[in-house]
């Protein structure tokens, strides 16, 4: 074989290979190259943003741009896969979702009833406690009110001078010792002149029953 030959002399050495058409046996998905162009321009744009110094302050994780082409590619593969395989392929027994509905309801409603029983009991106890508190407060209130409304309480509120003056005007003879008891010695009227024993005797004879 002539290694210096730059022409297609090898064809003489390999006739089978030479007779084959040099067609490209590989193919690509439809619109692949136009899509590729857009994708590559997009990646370049993103790369330029990453390289640009006067950024707006945004940063990305260190390996982001290295992983980005792979991530974009994965997303595209995923999209293509979704187009080819629309469903997961799993199935369930017939009527499954109907019975599932009932099962769930049964379990949640039961729980709801249990919960409402407990809350009902708690609510009852709470109301009893509230009623008892109200009764106690009312009792105390009534008691205090009554305390304030006894005769002694009322009289305690009237000034002593008013009572004495009243008794002076409206008193019976039996009230006299009580009046004297409660009068201050200074309040007793002083006679202008001392009375003789004879005058006192006459007075007593005239007033005694």
């Amino acid at each position: 074989m002539d290694l210096n030959s730059t022409n297609r002399d090898w064809e003489k050495e390999a006739p089978r290979l030479a007779e084959m058409t040099r067609a490209n046996p590989f193919s690509v998905p439809p619109d692949y190259f136009s899509e590729l162009q857009s994708r590559l321009q997009g990646l370049a744009y993103i790369q330029s943003l990453a390289d640009h110094d006067s950024t707006s302050g945004f940063t990305v994780p260190d390996t982001y741009f290295n992983e980005l082409p792979e991530n974009i590619s994965s997303s595209l593969k995923m999209e293509r896969l979704k187009e080819d395989v629309k469903e997961a392929g799993y199935s369930v027994p017939e009527g499954y979702f109907t019975t599932l509905n009932d099962t769930i309801k049964r379990r949640t409603v039961k729980q709801k009833h249990q919960k409402s029983r407990i809350s009902h009991i708690l609510t009852s106890w709470g109301s009893y406690a509230a009623a008892a508190s109200m009764a106690l407060i009312a009792s105390i209130g009534i008691f205090l009110y009554q305390q304030n409304n006894t005769l002694e309480a009322k009289l305690a509120r009237i000034p002593e001078d008013d009572i004495v003056n009243y008794l002076k005007v409206h008193s019976d003879p039996g009230d006299f010792p009580v009046i004297l008891e409660n009068l201050d010695a200074n309040e007793l009227p002083k006679p202008e002149a001392p009375l003789s024993d004879k005058e006192i005797q006459q007075y007593l004879e005239s007033t005694t029953l």
């Binding site: 290979l17 046996p25 590989f26 998905p29 590559l40 990646l43 370049a44 082409p69 590619s73």
Partner: protein, 192 residues
Amino acid sequence: MTGTFLFFYMAPIEDEEILHKFSNEHTRAQAFEMLLKKYQQKIYWHIRRLVIDHDDADDLVQDVFIKVWKNLANFRNNSQLYTWIYRIATNECLTFLNKKKQKNNVPLEDVSYELADSLADSTYFNGTKAQMKLQEALLTLPEKQRIVFNMKYFDDLKYEEISEILGTSVGGLKASFHLAVKKIEAYLLNHD
């Protein structure tokens, strides 16, 4: 009629124009769009022939052009733009295949079996039986030999261009290519 002609005629995008626009921040995105229009398919197919699976090729082509975007500003014009891009793509593929080997803890030739399985199961393979056999034959070659064969046979690159891409001498590449041709011919004969 003239309008139709003009509509279908697109002036080839020059690498100098791409590099010039890319050097200006305001026209960088436009330059990248032009670069993609010119090279994305070529690079994709270069990658695809090496890794076989479309999804793997899709991942790698994104990685390649992200690297191109990041590093084009540093491109020194000491090689052609497309050989520079090809080099990035080839290195990405070799790294990918090595990782596959390490991940599965298998020798490199067993990675080829995996690729052959991928070929057999592939949704995106529309070749004839003969073309399938050719791809199987290619997978029996060492990686570098397969790369050289692909670039010469399918991409019709010159040895000088392949030398720029792989950093191998022209003589070495010629030897590599002719060895590959011999092995493939033998495979096709034996698996008739």
